[in-house]
Symmetry: C2
Amino acid sequence: MIDVTAKPGHAPVFVTVDLVILTVRQDVLQVLLIERGNEPYLGFPALPGGHVRDGETLDQAALRELGEETGVDGRSLHLEQLRAYSDPGRDPRGRVITVAYLALGPGLPHPTAGTDATAARWVPVADVFDGPVPLAFDHAGILRDALERARSQLEHTTVAAAFCAEPFTVGDLRHIYEVVWGMPLDPSNFRRKVTNADSFLVPTGERRHPETGRPAALYRRGAARLLLPPLLRSGDVTRPGPVVVTPH
Amino acid sequence: MIDVTAKPGHAPVFVTVDLVILTVRQDVLQVLLIERGNEPYLGFPALPGGHVRDGETLDQAALRELGEETGVDGRSLHLEQLRAYSDPGRDPRGRVITVAYLALGPGLPHPTAGTDATAARWVPVADVFDGPVPLAFDHAGILRDALERARSQLEHTTVAAAFCAEPFTVGDLRHIYEVVWGMPLDPSNFRRKVTNADSFLVPTGERRHPETGRPAALYRRGAARLLLPPLLRSGDVTRPGPVVVTPH
DNA sequence: CCGGTTTGAGTCAAGGTGACCTTTAGGGCT
DNA sequence: AGCCCTAAAGGTCACCTTGACTCAAACCGG
């Protein structure tokens, strides 16, 4: 083991994981937030997260925190590393670097406020930025990055299906895209694209009978992770570029 | 400040940055490797990198290491965070989490072996995986991820121009794509795509006269960071999907 | 049985792509 | 000069995808 006091200027730091857990509920994109029970930012909303333990990978820590804070086990949702945030002043207690994770899941139950957690709740992402109370730490920036990542992933990958509880219909899937991108899509063209894509949707043979309208075929998630050809947002959207280091 | 001895199970960790610095030299994609001068992995090739210092962001640490190990200042190349690697056993000395960065630059000079560096040199990436001596730590996996990221970025962004010293020709740019993707591209169709893309290339009005062939128009990098429409690798390539956390 | 609603299939024009060809602008050689 | 070689630059054409749109199918409620 390294002597933690040996190298001045290379002091050890604390590493945490923070989770941006997104779901679509009631036609709105929502994020799971907790209310902080300790200083700093006592009482402020924040992303769930916590310290990485000894002998644990970041992925494992993210999965553990996911279960502790929401009661959801990671098997049922999509989890992916976003990036690390390292501003020296981002935590007033000292040097804390955090690795953010993006989690996408189907309409999850109301979170069972976990062990150390104060109230955890779903909040529409629109309310987070408009709301009167800002997020703790640099979590607003993390959430912003996570949203853009999610929107971008919908174009090139099949993760949108992670938002849908199986089995689901093409309409369910389209609804995810419309809510996450914030724009209506042509139902017919959307169907053509996702059903032509290889191994994206596998039909179950069953049908779902809604209260109104023609019954819809049901599908499960296919093996494909990449969506070819990509399903691009119509060209008139202004998309932020990739995150790049700009010196000075 | 946090008392580093306070929380058992939440021990502080060391955080490093590792750099995957890619360039195209002599028609081959090359990566900058150092030879380790300390245990563990003494004498093994490794990615350049080092500890994050107090009061420094990860981006700043990456830029600093870039200069220290290669003598290149970050202003002249593209630098971007890749992801964090956190396997508890990845460093035998103890708990070291590393954040990998991807750096792309034009045919750089032979690295001026930096302060603490033992010999730093350019190595064709093909030789790294085929070669008899494996990379230190988990650097082979990091390099693999970086390569896939670079190849993918060429499709959707304008970073390929970061490989070219300004001013450059359309042929120079195409050469980058061919080397990084490892496949020939149709010169005519390639030109059509990149010249049609908005703000990708800005003509200087000058021409370059090669030893043989018609002189080519010279360009500089435009303001665009995203490449619309994307320049996709032909469909017959098998592309690895995004990195996802798969529990258990 | 009729109107409403959503699914699912089809049509068509516009634009992008891949394969291919031709012309242009040099250098080098006889 | 004239000819060949090379690479750039521009053009053609068939094919495919996309976006906008229309229309039939299948259910429900009254």
